[in-house]
């Protein structure tokens, strides 16, 4: 990779890091109900929303009530979206000439569940399926709401650790509404205009017809792209306006728009580590989690970047073809990558999106080298702990840390503690349930797909170990509520629409509920002073324990599957 590529990565991390403290502090004030500069504008709007919806903002909920509110809101959102999609042809801005793919019940159901869970797995191509109304009134609204719901659950989780001797974790509606009004909406208004400045369109025009210089006809879709684009990333959703998502020049026209969009993905989850630190009164704890995230993030960038820059070994053998980073060309594995991004900015997006539970890739991951494509896959298998999804990323990394503390506790024969709270047998049960969810959901469904003709029917582009990876990647991505894919897989069939929807829901609710249950349990405990048994969780030793736990537990669960896919492909491809 060139020096410029490496500088791009360094500046990216530096800019994100510099925003952690200000944004983290702001979010802590928002969720603590403290004064912020937007209050004069937003407090009246907030109270209007509560009056119109019947929310009692003074009411506090325990973990079960919080969970029910979270689940019911998600399902109602999915239902509303399903309705909009199925009635699309009767709503405005439906273009029968171009939007030729029908929103069948199974596709609409899959899309509705997908967007309501922030997965935004898209078994459809935007420009041939979705009207502008569906994209904006349907999908964009869910981008906000599902992201805000995840952030709310994250805040409730933090309160479980921060509070003591109470069963109350806050009010889901208040947390969700505050996420939308104080955080997502202002940043989206600003961010969308920055993106338009760089070239992302936002209009409501019919698809335009151009006559190319060659004399041919070119139909160019339009649309209110920028309005969707910013919240797609900010809310860690990822579903693109067009088929190829961030590779499309209208969604991501310049290297700077790419930088802004990728920053939007990691910004709030990174800052949330600081919010966590402040809300528990121990900022160093937050910084430690942030540092672990940065280390794993940079590791993925360097590994993926190095192998993609080396290029496709099979093409390197062709005489007179140059895959080297020469004067005037990026070189490397350029199949499926855009010229404006080259290797560096494509890999940045691959690593940011796979870590950030956001599907908005800017290159075709299916065309990555075996090891290159394995990096985003492994990032997702680690459990979306490196920044991760909005709100969900924080409890994901903490749950993994607790697994590490349990393992350490077993080794030294002492009951683990975290932030003054004891991790006893019942707490361990919740944590175990959480940790088992991913292999129990991803592996059997992948096996089902490769063992049945319905699953194998999806392999229309690539077969063999790479085809296996396509299927494994799909279910991993859906479980992680990420949404990206190896797009060569044909997943717009009832089999995949049904199975991916099930996996998405397990990934969303199967993790949030145990996390909230644990938080509720911990909230009821007294906060003790750290005893001698405790592993100090703000020191480098704990960071190492966390990284080791992520890699070892991940490897134990998924190394066999990885061997059948990318590792095998890499070995036979040499």
């Amino acid at each position: 990779m060139s020096a410029s590529n490496l500088l791009q990565y360094a500046v990216f991390v530096a800019v994100a890091a510099s925003l952690v403290k200000p944004l983290g502090g702001y979010m802590a004030r928002v969720f603590g109900g403290e004064k912020t500069f937007l209050d004069p504008l937003l407090r009246p709007l907030e109270h209007l929303v509560y009056r119109l919806t019947g929310v009692d903002p003074e009411l506090e909920m325990d973990w079960a009530q919080y969970s029910v509110a979270f689940i019911v809101f998600g399902l109602i959102g999915a239902l509303a979206l399903y309705g909009i999609l199925r009635l699309q042809q009767f709503l405005p801005f439906f273009y029968a000439r171009y939007q030729t793919t029908p929103l069948s019940p199974d596709l609409a159901m899959n899309t509705a569940i997908s967007f309501a869970t922030t997965t935004t797995w898209q078994a459809y191509s935007g420009e041939t399926t979705m009207s502008y109304t569906s994209q904006i009134v349907g999908l964009t609204v869910q981008n906000f709401l599902a992201g805000a719901s995840g952030l709310a659950v994250g805040v409730a989780f933090i309160r479980g650790l921060a509070r003591e001797q109470t069963s109350k974790l806050g009010n889901f509606w208040v947390d969700m509404v505050r996420s939308v009004l104080w955080i997502l909406l202002p940043l989206s208004l600003l961010g969308s205009l920055l993106l338009v400045w760089q070239g992302v369109p936002v209009n409501w025009h019919y698809y335009v017809q151009a006559t190319t210089l060659d004399g041919g006809q070119q139909v160019i879709p339009q649309g209110p792209v920028a309005a969707l684009e910013i919240i797609k990333n900010l809310g860690t959703n990822g579903g693109g306006f067009f088929n190829v998502n961030g590779a499309h020049p209208y969604e991501n026209p310049t290297p700077l728009s790419n930088f802004i969009e990728m920053l939007a993905i990691v910004l709030l989850p990174a800052a949330f580590t600081n919010t966590f630190g402040r809300m528990i009164g121990k900022p160093r704890q937050g910084w430690l989690l942030f540092s672990v995230m940065v280390v794993l993030f940079v590791g993925g960038l360097l590994l993926c970047g190095w192998t993609e820059q080396k290029g496709n070994v099979k093409l390197a053998h062709i005489k007179t073809l140059s895959v080297h980073s020469l004067q005037g060309q990026p070189g490397g594995n350029m199949e499926g990558k855009e010229a404006r991004f080259g290797i560096g900015a494509s890999v940045l997006a691959a690593v940011v999106t796979s870590n950030g539970a956001t599907g908005s890739t800017n290159s075709a991951h299916d065309s990555y080298t075996p090891l290159g494509g394995a990096v985003p896959l492994v990032n997702m298998l680690l459990g979306e702990i490196v920044f991760g999804g909005l709100g969900t990323g924080l409890y994901s990394i903490i749950m993994l840390a607790l697994v590490g503390l349990i393992l350490a506790g077993m080794m030294i024969g002492r009951m683990p503690e975290y932030l003054g709270k004891k991790i006893g047998p019942l707490e361990t049960k919740f944590i175990t349930l959480y940790a088992l969810a991913s292999p129990l959901a991803i592996l059997p469904v992948t096996a089902l797909a490769i063992a049945t003709k319905h699953g194998l029917a999806g392999l229309v582009t690539n077969t063999g170990p790479h085809g296996f990876t396509e299927i494994f990647y799909a279910y991993t991505s859906c479980f992680a509520n990420n949404g990206q894919s190896f797009a060569g897989l044909n997943a717009s069939t009832p089999f995949y629409n049904f199975t991916t929807a099930v996996v998405m829901m397990i990934g969303r609710f199967g993790l949030a509920i145990p996390a909230l249950a644990l938080a509720g349990r911990l909230a009821g405990q007294i906060k003790r002073q750290e005893t001698q048994n405790a592993v100090p969780t703000d020191k480098p030793l704990f960071a190492a324990l966390l990284v080791a736990t992520a890699l070892i537990v991940g490897a134990l669960s998924f190394l066999p599957a990885l061997t059948l896919g990318p590792i095998l492909e890499h070995l036979i491809g040499r």
């Binding site: 019947g54 609204v141 151009a210 088929n243 290029g311 199949e335 900015a345």
Partner: protein, 190 residues
């Protein structure tokens, strides 16, 4: 449960109005006023006709034009069907396709090494750019087809080469449509 259902329904309605109608209209309004060219797709008019968008690539098969990268969007640069090839690096179809492209490019310029982006498809199939090396590679052919000097073409390519943004973001690139438009204007095909 009933309270949650009621609140959920009303909350979905209220937020749909705020986020699905008011917010996008505000964004559209501000963007159309502040950045009208970008907001409307950076379309390019030529002699009263719409010839395309500077952001959306086109195929250039006619004589005397700089060519774009190969494209898997429909039959090539079909903007209503954005797509990459999604071919795995070990897929025989990819290797055969690249080998064939290399052979035809070698025929038109036997001396220079072929830049890899000129034989690979983009992720979108609508990439409007090629690398500066890919543009320079095509100069000998254009010089022959339009009967102009290679140095004039080198100047042209240099003028249309965008450097890395802010000096270090992304890659240097040449917009093929804008390049060909100026090529037609300065050195028309006789």
């Amino acid at each position: 449960m009933k309270k949650n259902l009621l609140i959920s329904v009303f909350m979905t309605l209220v937020t749909t109005v705020l986020l699905g109608i008011i917010y996008p209209l505000v964004v559209t309004g501000l963007a159309q006023v502040l950045f009208p060219r970008q907001a409307n797709g950076e379309l390019i008019q030529q002699g009263g006709k719409l010839v395309g968008s500077s952001l959306i690539g086109q195929p250039f098969t006619a004589v005397g034009y700089f060519r774009s990268r190969p494209s898997s969007a429909g039959n090539g640069y079909d903007a209503s069907n954005s797509s990459g090839s999604n071919l795995a690096p070990t897929n025989k179809a990819l290797i055969d396709r690249v080998t064939a492209s290399v052979q035809s490019l070698r025929a038109e310029n036997p001396t220079s090494p072929i830049p890899v982006d000129l034989v690979t498809t983009s992720g979108s199939g609508l990439d409007p750019d090629i690398s500066p090396a890919a543009a320079k590679f095509q100069i000998p052919r254009i010089a022959r087809e339009r009967s102009i000097s290679q140095s004039a073409l080198q100047d042209l390519v240099k003028r249309h080469t965008k450097g890395r943004q802010l000096g270090f973001l992304g890659e240097p690139r040449v917009n093929v449509l804008e390049l060909n438009l100026e090529l037609d204007a300065q050195h028309p095909l006789r």
